[in-house]
Symmetry: C2
Subunit: 315 residues, 2 copies
């Protein structure tokens, strides 16, 4: 079973070894144009080029491969409909175990297809959080599968921490590292790594202003609800958990919010200048630089994913 | 002055050292989806992620930095309007010398802007090859600048050969390497490197069937004219020179052609699955695999560039 403790840096290091055969080392690229424009060096970590098109491949692989054999054979389950679902289906397929993915009726066809392409079993439910949780509980009770939460899971958080570990294997710490925040799994994992390896690097979470629960929770120290999020960044509509808030408060320097206009401008800049296909959620860190919300002597931005519908690009 | 001899592998090795400070080592990525679909491993060399968004940065930097100081100070000139023009302007700016770029009236605004962003001086002329050559000759006579041809130049060819050299620094030779063919500079440079380092690797050039001069010239052994090319792949509308044909005939195994439909399908696949922004010319090698024009036990494709108008994507 999943332990209840918060993960530590040692768990990130163990995750890196565990998942190495199943994920990619992604490129870290200099952003020439943006660096010149803003006057300090900026590099981007291209998790859009990760398998399944997002960093979620890391946490899901870590959670799946950490399961002891008799537990693993019963499979895994989740009620995410986004990149975590595809990542979990892929990791389960590689390990040869079933993946049960609860999705709301009317979820985008492309997301369902991504899960099914990896052999995941999609279970439809009504489009409410209560219905999703109930459906997941039912399938877990029936099959004995292990529920793998998209971010409130120590193995998932430790897996996401390998993004920063990989950067640290090739360069010194920057002045500041910017991380997209949805449920806070990537932020919490990154914080574990950065605090251990680069003690002087500032860690800044970035969130759309139309889905600013993390900003409010971080500021107040109390978990705030995410009510009716309004943002193009579909991957960042989730809310922090008690665990990811606690970890953020322990290690993170700031959380800033960005406008929808800046997110779209950042996407366009990444397509046009960096030649990278980026989903809106993946572009928020660049948006924070464009809006001047974060400045520094040097910066690394995590580009979290590239799963965007090419027929409805926002320009 | 530019020597008249054909370049050799030693020139490629010298180019790699000369241009290292001015260009990027680009990622070589596994194409999981396509490999699975076609049944053999395929990797892509991402020259769309190169500075100026194309491999042309390499040849231009080599040509500019190979000039002796007193010649260099008089500047460089070209009558390309594409990626070579921007690449030459950038290399000249880095060296602190003038770049004179002859462009036909009515050239796309984005291409002119790319040249001017690097401080290149744009000179307009009538949109005919004769007018472009005459304008280039005039500026060379007036300024003493060195004309740097986009592909019929030993230093440019040697610079383009560093793409394959970089691949060889990280892996063994594949069964086949696929290279886009316009004027043949990248093909000739790649051939020098591959023939020396990977004697058993097949070298295949890929060209749009609507601009198939290289295919016809290669087959007949005689330079054939490129008459009225009809292809979305604007970077591949040029014709081989006597030099690039000679080098191709000496080293290359085959040239194949691809349809416009396959080029667009390949672009879409690269955007969607590989999360890479690719221009039509950059996608022809993947198009050849999609159409089954080339098969093998393993393949590397060179993705040559990513400079595409995002407001008029062909889907």
């Amino acid at each position: 079973m999943v332990p209840m403790q918060d993960p530590t840096f040692d768990d990130v290091a163990a995750a890196a070894i565990r998942i190495a055969p199943y994920v990619r080392t992604t490129p870290l690229l200099v952003m020439d144009g943006l660096s010149q424009r803003l006057g300090f060096p900026i590099e981007c970590k291209c998790e859009n080029l990760q398998v399944v098109g997002a960093f979620k491949a890391r946490g899901a692989a870590n959670a799946v491969y950490a399961l002891p054999e008799p537990v693993a054979t019963r499979g895994v389950a989740t009620h995410s409909s986004g990149n975590h679902a595809a990542a979990l289906a892929r990791a389960a397929k590689l390990r040869g175990i079933p993946a049960y993915i609860v999705m709301p009726k009317g979820a985008p066809r492309i997301k369902r297809a991504a899960v099914e392409a990896f052999g995941g079993q999609v279970l439809e439910c009504e489009p409410t959080l209560a219905a999703r949780e109930a459906a997941a509980e039912t399938i877990v009770a029936r099959t004995g599968a292990t529920l793998v939460h998209p971010y409130d899971d120590p193995y998932v958080i430790a897996g996401q921490g390998t993004v920063a570990l990989e950067i640290a294997s090739v360069r010194e710490g920057p002045d500041v590292i910017l991380v997209p925040v949805g449920g806070g799994g990537l932020l919490a994992g990154t914080a574990l790594t950065v605090r251990r390896l680069w003690p002087h690097t500032r860690i800044v979470g970035v969130e759309p202003s139309g889905a600013d629960d993390a900003f409010r929770s971080f500021s107040s120290g109390e978990l705030q609800a995410q009510t009716n999020p309004q943002t193009i960044a579909d991957g960042l509509r989730g809310a922090l958990s008690a665990r990811t808030l606690r970890m953020a408060r322990a290690h993170v320097d700031a959380i800033v919010t960005v406008s929808e206009e800046a997110i779209i401008a950042a996407m366009r800049l990444l397509f046009e200048q960096s030649k990278l296909v980026i989903e809106p959620s993946g572009a928020v860190t660049v948006a924070a630089l464009l809006e001047g919300k974060v400045v520094g002597r040097s910066a690394i931005v995590i580009l979290s994913g590239g799963n965007v519908d090419l027929d409805t690009l926002p320009w």
